[in-house]
Structure formats: structure tokens, C-alpha cells
């Protein structure tokens, strides 16, 4: 996850919040992928936070259907994407990001173009906002338990059970619980704020893991690495799709879907207001909105598509609601006070 590999996100984040006050800087590109069309007619420029691995199959499938479109896929960090669009006036056709809050802010601040089609109308209501922001994946957040630590042990499936377990056996888990450092990880911040919105249990949990000398991480990758190496027994709030991909490759841990509630992150796409290739951008939005109808592409990319039935079948899954509510935690003062509470809980000061 690109999202998880960000460094010094806090600075970027503050830059975003300080908005237009900072001078424009060039976009910091992490990777660029250009899929040349056989008979190039147009170029579709995508600015994305999603890694190459899960996205390349999707881009290829799109190009197979639209062989005359060259795809210029630029990968950058979430806050860089935000800054490039809202401050630097970077010209792209599509913005794809897992930072639902920042995507919402882009749409709210007028950087998105409205689009409606049969494909977007087929999305459930919770998966689109203003006909500008379209979700195309639903990725639950999960609890990771290492096989080594939990062999033959009871597996907690709710936050209360987890709290109880950690509280009852402090010596077993001391220094072996990991979660995001929400001060540096945008994704971690989004998940923690959503947790706090749904349940007060998060604060008790933070206190407990704070007392256990929690390890804080910037990224899912590092957390999973430490799980496998046995440094960690429990990792809280890991993106399920990422963990599933890792599990397939390496093994060594188990994925627990929380039964009390599990936030579901939605990866979203929007067409930029300044898009130059609107027609292809719309075609790509339609393609992504109907990803669930292409099982082979889904299998190749590993990204779980929008599936309303799956959500209705499992009441614990709560898709994070798109809309102005997400702007609340981007508020400067709100962020400050949330981080203060978080720090107070986790560092036991």
C-alpha cells in the first residue's frame, strides 16, 4: 500500500490543511506507468495512490476494451495528490485514492466533475457522493493475529474480547501489540477517527495497548513484517485486502473480521474539473463502477469490488460514509484535539 509507505505525512497533511497559503511545489511522483496504446488516439492521465500491482490488471483490462487509449498512470502519496490537485493545479483526468476524507474534500471544494451513467447509477447510494465521487472497492479493516502467539488459543472477535484478553494477560502481550501511528499515517488517522465515531471502546482499547507498550507503525507492510517475525502478536486496524494478499504469499498469521463492527474503506475515483480527456475518464469510471462484473480482473488485482449484498449479509461491516461528515476530522482544531486524546491514551501520560 502506497498509502502506508508515506513518510513525514504529518507535514504533508498540515500543508494540505494550510491549503493555498504555501507556495506551489512540483508533485512528488513515486512511480509512473505508461501503457502505450497500439493505435493511440487519446491519453488518459490518472493520478492515483494505489500501487502498481493491484492496479495494473485493471488498467490492462480497460485498455483491452479501449485499445486506442494510452494510459498514463502516476502514483503519488495521498497528501501529495491532494496538494497537486487543490494547490498546484496539476492537470490529470482522474484521481483515484483510498483517502476518502481527502477525496471528499476535493469534491466538496469543487475540484470534481459531475457524471451520471447507468453504471454509476448501479452503485449503491453509499458508494457515491454528488455523482462526483465513486467508490469502486470495499475493503474492510481487520485484526491480525500471529499464528505463533495464538496457536490453540481463543481468538477474540470483538473489541471487548480483545480488551479483556490484553488486560488479563499483560505479560503475554507486553510490547507485542501494534497499530498505526495516527500522527503519521493518514489511513490510520481515518480509521481511528471512524472507530471513535462508532464506539467508545476504542479509547479503552488504546489505553490497554498503551499500557502494553504498543508499537506504532506508519504502514501495514511493516506491521505484517513484524507479525511474521514474531515481534508482534496482534496488529490492530490493518487493511484486509492488503493482509489477504500478504497471507497468500507468506502465511504466518490469521485475519480476524471483528464481529462488533468493522470499518470498510472505500477506494474512490473522481473526474477532475480540469480533465482534458473527459470521455475516456467517464469510460474508466464506468469500468471501475462495474468492476464486480469482471471476476477475472477482480481476481488478478485482488481488490474487492463494491458488493452491496455482502454488506447486507454482514451487519458488522460499516462502510465509511462519504459526505461532509468526513470533513470534520480534517478540521485543524479537531485533528489537534483528536491527536491529543489519542496520545494521552496511548502514551499513558
Amino acid at each position: 500500500m502506497r498509502l502506508d509507505r508515506l513518510s513525514a505525512v504529518l507535514i504533508g497533511w498540515l500543508a494540505v490543511l494550510a491549503a493555498w497559503t504555501l507556495p506551489a511545489t512540483a508533485l512528488e511522483i513515486e512511480e509512473r506507468l505508461v501503457l502505450e496504446a497500439q493505435t493511440p488516439r487519446s491519453v488518459l492521465r490518472i493520478l492515483s495512490t494505489a500501487d502498481r500491482a493491484p492496479f495494473e490488471p485493471i488498467l490492462k483490462a480497460f485498455q483491452a476494451e479501449n485499445p486506442d487509449v494510452t494510459i498514463d498512470y502516476t502514483i503519488a502519496g495521498t497528501s501529495d495528490v491532494m496538494k497537486a490537485v487543490s494547490e498546484d493545479g496539476a492537470v490529470f483526468d482522474l484521481v483515484i485514492s483510498s483517502a476518502m476524507d481527502l477525496q471528499t474534500k476535493l469534491a466538496n471544494d469543487g475540484f470534481a466533475r459531475t457524471y451520471r451513467s447507468a453504471a454509476t447509477d448501479s452503485l449503491p447510494d453509499w458508494a457515491r457522493w454528488r455523482d462526483q465521487l465513486f467508490a469502486f472497492t470495499q475493503e474492510p479493516v481487520v485484526l491480525i493475529l500471529s499464528d505463533a502467539a495464538f496457536a490453540g488459543q481463543v481468538v477474540p472477535t470483538t473489541r471487548d474480547e480483545l480488551i479483556e484478553l490484553l488486560r488479563d494477560e499483560p505479560e503475554r502481550f507486553m510490547g507485542k501489540v501494534g497499530t498505526y501511528d495516527v500522527r503519521t499515517s493518514g489511513f490510520g488517522y481515518l480509521m481511528a477517527t471512524q472507530d471513535s465515531r462508532v464506539s467508545e471502546a476504542i479509547w479503552r482499547l488504546l489505553e490497554v495497548i498503551g499500557r502494553l507498550d504498543a508499537r506504532l507503525y506508519c504502514c501495514s507492510g511493516d506491521m505484517l513484517r513484524d507479525i511474521r517475525s514474531g515481534k508482534l502478536a496482534v496488529a490492530y486496524n490493518v487493511l484486509g485486502s492488503y493482509a489477504a494478499a500478504e497471507l497468500r504469499e507468506t502465511g504466518g498469521f490469521r485475519i480476524v473480521h471483528m464481529k462488533d463492527f468493522a470499518n470498510v474503506m472505500l477506494r474512490t475515483v473522481l473526474i477532475l474539473d480540469r480533465a482534458e480527456n473527459v470521455a475516456d475518464a467517464q469510460r474508466m469510471v464506468d469500468f471501475l463502477a462495474t468492476l464486480g462484473r469482471r471476476p477475472d480482473v477482480v481476481a488478478a488485482s485482488g481488490l474487492p469490488p463494491i458488493d452491496d449484498a455482502a454488506l447486507r449479509g454482514n451487519v458488522a461491516l460499516r462502510p465509511i460514509r462519504l459526505g461532509p461528515g468526513l470533513l470534520v476530522y480534517l478540521d485543524r482544531l479537531k485533528r489537534r484535539s483528536f491527536l491529543r486524546n489519542w496520545e494521552a491514551s496511548i502514551t499513558q501520560e
Binding site: 466538496n108 469543487g110 454528488r130 459526505g323 461532509p324 461528515g325 470534520v328 478540521d331 482544531l333 484535539s337
Partner: protein, 460 residues
């Protein structure tokens, strides 16, 4: 009878006026609904914006000598519940932006603690509605004025009011259509009494001069009264004319008959041939004038009675026989024989005895008149494909005259020479025939010299 040319239609006017009223009411309904909806929708947005701003205001607190805000999740999320409009907010402490969109313009009117202010303006390419709420927060004993503004674009609301406008349009249109249909019905039913009266008048027989007694709505009573008084005056006047004709016939014929009788007697007494000649001419002149007077009166009676034909059952054989018998003396003067043939099972027709008799008399009288002395007039009643009364003489015939023209009033043929006449005989016969649905046929005698005049009745 020619139909009266209509100038305008009450029904159309009534309908158009009602439809116009309906249209005005529909437009009114539409406008009222729309403006009500628009203000309701606006009030709804204002209400939710005010709730949002108030909840932000309530979350203000002072901390370490500075004002701070813990933005409540619901403050913004509630704005996302009714629509998907863009949301902006700004919190200003003593003129300094504490948090939110720094470029969000200040309200048109500064809010006070007791009064929120609402403004509408364009911001970031869209029209927004903004509510501003004022609070005083004390920081370390120093009161600071905090102004909280929450703004939202109005696309969702305009979609709602558009939808309501659509409904209002449909309602107005529906109201108009229903009202129009009803006014059509109302106009029709308002005029139904008039139609009923028209029908009552139309249905009447020609001689029916009784006053109109249809159910009459109050508005038509004066008209019906006037009509009835007119009918009764008409009836009286017709009665007077009929009386006059009868009286005139009597007054003219009786003295002439008396004079003629006296002249006959004198004629018989006179010895000198030149005196007798004079007297015979006198008698002839009396005959002519009495016939002319009779024909004139007959014609008057015919025109009068055909207007309201009575419906007696007339035995044609009887009427033919009787007429022939009456004319026999006059024919005898010229030694003309009238041969009358009627079948045993005589047919009857419905009609006016007096008129039919007058028609046959005039035809037979002509035949005798235009016959040479010592000849025969055949009167036949025959029933075949139709009923035919034919009178055939052996006289001079019509010559080459235009036969239809002879039926005209006072028209006389070119063949009359010394024979006096008024030109009314065939006119009477023709009018009577037509009044009875029959026709008068003039043709030359098929079996030689002379003319054949027939009245032909269709077999019912």
C-alpha cells in the same frame, strides 16, 4: 323556412369564460404552490444550517487562555443527510479565522447573539446559502465574539423545488383540465332548458297555437311569456283572417247569386232578341265575376289552410263524385257531359276535404271551360302504382305552352282566346296537391285532342 344565422353562442361564451377563470385559478394555484414550496424548502435548509451552526457554537470552549473548538461530527454530517450539497464553514474569533474555509465571505449582516443572519451568494462556482451565528466566549475573563458561519450549496434544494414545481405544474394542469371539462358540462347543462323548450316548440303540429307550457327556469319566464302572448295574438289574427275569408266569400257569392237568379228570371221574361242577348251577356259576366271572386277566395283559403293542414280521412271516390255532380248543371249549359268513374273499393287519403274538393273542382271546371260544346269530360279515379285523379277533355289542349309556368299565380296560357279566367285555377290545384304530398301533372290527352290534368297521390 330558412334557419336564423347565429351571432355568437351562449354556450361557447359561457364555456370560454369558465375556462378562462379555470386557467387563471390554475396559474394561481401553480404560483402559490411553487412559492410555498420554495419558501418551505428554503426554510428547511435554513433550519438545518442553523442547527449545524448552533451545534458548532455549543462546542466552543476556552482552553489555556485561547478559544478552541472540537468540531462535532454531526455538525457537518447532518448537512449530508438531506442532500449531497457541498458544505463550507468558518469560525471567526474577533476578526481572526479560527478554523474552516478562510475565504468564505462574511455575512451580509453581522449576526447578534439573539439573531442569526442568513445570506445567499456565489462561492466557488455555486450559489450558497449561509447562516451565521454569534457567540460570546470568555477567555481568561476577556469576552471574545465568535462568529460561526455554515454554508451549503443549493443544488439539492433546487432539485427538490424543481420537483415540487413539476408537481405544481401537473396539479395546475390537471385542475385546469378537470375545470374545463366541468365548465363544458356546466355550460351545456345551463342551456338544457333552452334546448328542451326548442324541442317542445319544434315538436308542435303546424296548427298548434296553444301557449307553451314546458318547465321554464326563472330567467326564461319573461321570454316564454312574451312568446306565449305573441302566439295568442298570432292565433287571434289567423282566426280573424279565416273568418274574414269565409265572411267575404259569403258576402260576395250571395248577392251575385241573387243578381244572377234575378237576371235569369228577367231573361226569360224578355221578348226582344237584342234585350235577351244583352241579358245573357250580363248573366255570363256575373258568372265570370262570381267564379273569379270564388277563385280568389279559394286561393286565399288554400294558402291559409295549407299552412296548417287538417288531417281528415277523405274518401276520394266520394269527393270526386260529389264535385262532378256539382259541376254538372254548369256543364249542361254547354251540353258537355261529365263522365265520372270511380272504383268500388275507394281509397282514402288523409287531408283537408275542402281543399281537395276545391282542387278537383277547379280542374274539372277548366276542362269544361276549355271544352267545345257537345263534348265529353272524363273524370277518373284510378288506383295502381299510385292514386290518380285524372280529368281529360277534348278541347284545345295546352298548345305549346310551358306547362310548369301555367301553374304559376295569375298565369294564363296563350291558347285562351275569348275564354275568360283568372289564372288561379291550376295554382290552387297545384298548391293543394303539394300540401297533400301529391303532384299535379299536366299533359296532352293521349287519345286525341284535348288536355289531361291529374292529381297523383303516392300510395302512402
Amino acid at each position: 323556412m330558412t334557419a336564423q344565422r347565429a351571432s355568437g353562442s351562449i354556450r361557447r361564451r359561457l364555456f370560454l369564460q369558465l375556462a378562462l377563470i379555470a386557467a387563471l385559478l390554475s396559474v394561481g394555484l401553480f404560483l402559490v404552490t411553487r412559492s410555498l414550496a420554495a419558501s418551505a424548502v428554503e426554510a428547511m435548509q435554513d433550519g438545518i444550517l442553523a442547527a449545524s451552526a448552533t451545534s458548532i457554537a455549543d462546542a466552543l470552549r476556552s482552553e489555556d487562555g485561547a478559544i478552541t473548538l472540537d468540531l462535532p461530527y454531526s455538525a457537518l454530517s447532518m448537512l449530508g443527510t438531506i442532500n449531497q450539497d457541498r458544505v463550507f464553514y468558518r469560525v471567526v474569533v474577533d476578526g481572526e479565522t479560527l478554523t474552516g474555509y478562510e475565504d468564505l465571505p462574511p455575512p451580509d449582516e453581522t449576526p447578534t447573539i439573539s439573531r442569526n443572519s442568513f445570506s445567499t451568494f456565489a462561492y466557488r462556482d455555486d450559489e450558497v446559502r449561509m447562516v451565521s451565528v454569534a457567540r460570546v466566549v470568555s477567555t481568561g475573563g476577556v469576552p471574545s465574539t465568535v462568529q460561526i458561519s455554515v454554508a451549503q450549496t443549493r443544488l439539492g434544494l433546487s432539485a427538490i423545488s424543481q420537483r415540487i414545481s413539476g408537481v405544481a405544474t401537473a396539479a395546475g394542469l390537471g385542475f385546469f383540465l378537470v375545470a374545463t371539462a366541468l365548465s363544458l358540462w356546466a355550460a351545456r347543462s345551463a342551456l338544457r332548458p333552452l334546448e328542451r323548450m326548442t324541442e317542445a316548440v319544434t315538436r308542435r303540429g303546424p296548427g298548434d297555437l296553444r301557449p307553451l307550457q314546458a318547465e321554464t327556469p326563472a330567467e326564461l319566464v319573461p321570454f316564454v311569456d312574451a312568446l306565449n302572448s305573441f302566439i295568442s295574438r298570432l292565433g287571434a289574427s289567423l282566426q280573424r283572417s279565416e273568418d274574414l275569408i269565409a265572411e267575404a266569400a259569403h258576402r260576395v257569392r250571395t248577392p251575385l247569386a241573387t243578381v244572377r237568379a234575378k237576371a235569369e228570371v228577367t231573361h226569360r221574361k224578355l221578348q226582344k232578341p237584342e234585350h235577351r242577348l244583352t241579358m245573357r251577356e250580363m248573366i255570363r259576366a256575373i258568372d265570370e265575376s262570381s267564379r273569379s271572386a270564388g277563385q280568389l277566395l279559394d286561393h286565399a283559403m288554400v294558402s291559409f289552410r295549407t299552412d296548417s293542414l287538417s288531417e281528415d280521412t277523405v274518401d276520394l271516390a266520394e269527393i270526386v263524385q260529389e264535385t262532378c255532380a256539382r259541376l254538372e248543371p254548369a256543364a249542361g249549359l254547354k251540353d258537355v257531359e261529365i263522365r265520372c268513374q270511380t272504383p268500388a273499393d275507394a281509397p282514402t287519403v288523409r287531408g283537408d276535404w275542402l281543399l281537395l274538393q276545391s282542387a278537383i273542382r277547379n280542374i274539372v271546371d277548366n276542362a269544361v271551360k276549355y271544352s267545345p260544346d257537345d263534348s265529353v269530360v272524363d273524370v277518373r279515379l284510378e288506383v295502381g302504382a299510385n292514386i290518380r285523379i285524372s280529368v281529360t277533355d277534348l278541347g284545345r289542349g295546352f298548345g305549346g305552352a310551358d306547362l310548369e309556368a301555367l301553374k304559376a299565380r295569375f298565369a294564363r296560357g296563350g291558347n285562351v282566346s275569348d275564354i275568360v279566367g283568372s289564372g288561379l285555377g291550376l295554382t290552387i290545384a297545384d298548391e293543394v296537391a303539394r300540401a297533400h304530398g301529391a303532384r299535379l301533372e299536366l299533359e296532352p290527352n293521349k287519345n286525341g285532342e284535348g288536355a289531361c290534368v291529374s292529381i297523383v297521390f303516392p300510395l302512402s
